[in-house]
């Protein structure tokens, strides 16, 4: 059984603006490119209370909430925040699939006993490093994780467990399933299908006859059979090795003695992969699940020297259960970004 986290930043653009300008906190405000024409990109939660929504024409938003404060977008600030958030997520796992600047899936299978605890730490670290709140959904597939992140917004954390999944899906209106637009919804309703429960009891071929291949997809979603993998969106940007010790390593000398085989292993892999990085990372996991990383630019000196310097940089926080070494390319090197058409 997989463990998937869907992370969704709360009112992302509006939250970045409120973080950077205290005058915008707690008031109805929205980010919009133009006050006269154009649409709301993101509305703050106080603005949402008036019914202001994303993609709504700004004129309509001002009708609903005359004292709405409109702020022009600062895309560079959103990109910077997004990069920082992704960096936090990638400290937990390389299996991060960003869906947009403010939304991503993480596959955290096998990373400790509690995916929920991990999601809580993820939220806390994002908060600490960016000052922004996120909502997380935890479940065993992408569709359910995404549904879960919606359950407890803002600043929420919700879990859909395997034994709850079918009941949750049974209660879900068909409109909430991915790919069901107004016309499909009408067709489903005409066939007496209003909720997930109706999808679960119909045979697959009936839904396929009704909606084509979208019907098959829908049937599988309703049965909690969503095996779409979390696909990291970028080519290899890092390479790492690690070892877990049967007996925790006590003290810096014991840890230092464990470094040479790791460094040799990493060097061999770098040669095999033909990969050139510019940052060295030392990973230390203390018992039971406290993970710390230390990073430094990779000098021309052997990796082992760099690893020793990182180890000596500050004292250990306790016995070490897992030790890892990795190299990566720092993200700031890739600054190209394809802009999106403002389709709404």
């Amino acid at each position: 059984m997989r463990k998937i986290v869907h992370l969704d930043m709360d009112a992302f653009y509006a939250a970045v603006e409120a973080r950077d300008d205290p005058a915008l906190r707690g008031i109805p405000m929205a980010v919009a490119a133009s006050a006269r024409h154009g649409v709301v990109m993101t509305a703050s939660y106080p603005a949402r209370a008036y019914g202001v929504r994303s993609a709504m024409p700004t004129a309509r938003a001002l009708e609903l909430c005359p004292r709405l404060v409109l702020v022009p977008p600062r895309h560079d600030a959103y990109r910077a925040a997004s990069l920082a958030i992704r960096a936090v997520m990638r400290r937990f796992t390389p299996l991060v699939e960003p869906l947009s600047l403010d939304e991503a899936y993480l596959d955290v299978t096998g990373l400790g006993p509690s995916a929920t605890g991990l999601a809580r730490r993820l939220k806390a670290e994002i908060r600490a490093e960016t000052g922004l709140a996120a909502s997380a959904g935890v479940s065993f597939n992408k569709f359910l994780a995404k549904q879960a992140s919606d359950l407890d917004k803002p600043n929420g954390l919700a879990v859909i467990r395997p034994n709850e999944a079918l009941a949750f899906l049974a209660a879900l209106p068909v409109e909430r399933f991915h790919g069901v637009g107004p016309a499909s919804a009408r067709r489903l309703h005409a066939a007496g299908i209003a909720r997930g429960a109706d999808l679960q009891t119909r045979p697959e071929h009936e839904l396929q006859a009704l909606l084509g291949s979208a019907g098959r997809h829908l049937w599988r979603m309703a049965k909690a059979e969503d095996d779409r993998p979390v696909v990291p969106d970028r080519p290899r940007k890092s390479l790492s090795v690690e070892t877990t010790f049967e007996d925790d390593l006590e003290g810096p000398d014991a840890v230092a003695a464990a470094l040479p085989p790791l460094a040799a292993d990493l060097e061999a892999r770098i040669v095999r992969a033909g990969f050139a990085g510019n940052t060295l990372t030392l990973k230390l996991r203390y018992a039971p699940y406290r993970l710390r990383t230390r990073q430094a630019p990779l000098a021309a000196a052997p990796i082992l020297d760099g690893a020793r310097r990182l180890l000596a940089r500050s004292p250990l926080e306790g016995p070490v259960r897992l030790l890892g070494l990795g190299i990566s390319k720092s993200e700031t090197l890739t600054i190209e970004e394809q802009l999106a058409l403002p389709l709404g």
Partner: protein
């Protein structure tokens, strides 16, 4: 198989390999490689009068075609589309193919020259025909117009699943000034292509529809090398293309196409006119250096010239200068080279007009020789 076997009816005919292949090569294309419903892997054979009808479906679209045949015993059955096609393909030129199914048999015998194949069959009356709805809007489009609508837009169709309503061509009736037009639009969220042709008689009240990518690809193959007109019938959920020897019926994408006119800029005041081929060639050469997937190139416009350049942390640098008719303030703007090249492949005239506002706003690209097309490119930050 046993349950089905006793319901099959006899069928017997002879067809020329060349005629069979002409239709079967199109029809078998529709069949998906993997199917959960076994009969969807099959092609329906329907021998009636002096013709053999061939039909395949993936439940999204159905393609039916027919070819002349000598029918000794009218009837229908279904056999594996890909197996049937492979056999027909490998038979020698000029072969005559005899097909026969005995009453109550679950097998079809195919004979050509000294080759005999016996293929398992499923009954023709169990083949899922796609439901026809009230397709009351019907009109005829010249083949050349249909090709134009498809060719000038399909490269911009999105493949991204999450925005499924962009996974096709948006086809609708529109007004261009006083003229009524049939318009096709496609976008992947980064670029957009719009083309129009004269509105055919009878198309005025057509619903605006999103034709799925696969349907676009299939109809485009069907009209290759054909002249004349295609009859189109359309409802809010179906579109049907009728050719002389084939009918394609397809579901439409259920969704709302975004208000695309909003993103087509009208007041971009920095305009450059470039020679089309030297521009495309320069972008292609310079992009050799661009990084990874992004393939970014930078364009710098100055009075009288444009510079195309690319920088990569690993692969080096490239720069090329071309002539440009440009009189505005110097402007630097980045684009995905792939997007420029896809678009330039559809510019038929010798020149291209690039209208920009700034380095972060939608850029309009026109073919000065073709007022019916417009392309919008979103820049890259570089």
């Amino acid at each position: 198989m046993q349950r089905n076997a006793n319901r099959t009816k006899p069928m017997k005919l002879v067809i020329e390999r060349a005629a069979l292949l002409k239709s079967l090569s199109h029809v078998q294309n529709v069949v998906e490689r993997r199917n959960t419903i076994p009969i969807l892997a099959n092609v329906k054979l329907d021998a009636q009068g002096e013709r053999l009808g061939l039909t395949a479906t993936d439940m999204e679209l159905s393609l039916a075609a027919s070819e002349p045949a000598r029918v000794a015993e009218p009837g229908m059955t279904t056999v594996s589309a890909h197996t049937f096609f492979d056999i027909a393909r490998k038979l020698p030129d000029g072969s005559e193919i005899a097909l026969e199914q005995a009453e109550g048999s679950g097998e079809v015998t195919l004979q050509a020259g000294r080759s005999v194949f016996t293929l398992p069959s499923l009954p023709g009356d169990e083949f899922p025909a796609m439901a026809f709805e009230d397709l009351d809007v019907r009109f005829r489009v010249p083949v050349e117009d249909l090709k134009r609508l498809i060719d000038k837009t399909r490269f911009a169709i999105s493949t991204e699943e999450t925005r499924y309503y962009l996974n096709g061509i948006y086809l609708h009736a529109a007004k261009a000034g006083a003229t009524s037009t049939l318009r096709a639009v496609a976008t992947d969220g980064h670029r957009l292509a719009r083309v129009e042709v004269d509105l055919p008689e009878g198309a005025k009240d057509m619903p605006a529809v999103i034709v799925p990518r696969k349907t676009v690809a299939e109809i485009r193959k069907l009209i290759e090398g054909i002249e004349g007109e295609v009859q189109i019938a359309v409802s809010p959920s179906r579109i049907q293309f009728m050719l002389e020897r084939a009918i394609l019926v397809s579901r439409l994408i259920d969704g709302t196409f975004p208000d695309y006119e909003r993103v087509i800029p009208t007041g971009n005041d920095k305009a450059a006119v470039l020679e089309a081929k030297p521009f495309a060639d320069a972008v292609d050469r310079v992009a050799t250096i661009s990084t990874e997937r992004a393939r970014a190139v930078k364009l710098r416009f100055e009075p009288g010239r444009a510079t195309v350049s690319a920088v990569s942390t690993e692969a080096g640098r490239a720069v090329e200068e071309i002539d440009a008719d440009y009189a505005g303030e110097p402007l630097e703007i980045g684009f995905n080279a792939r997007y420029i090249l896809d678009m330039m492949a559809e510019i038929d005239g010798g020149q291209v007009r690039v209208e920009m506002a700034n380095a972060a706003a939608p850029t309009l690209v026109r073919d000065p020789g073709d007022a019916g097309t417009a392309y919008v490119l979103m820049p890259m930050r570089v």
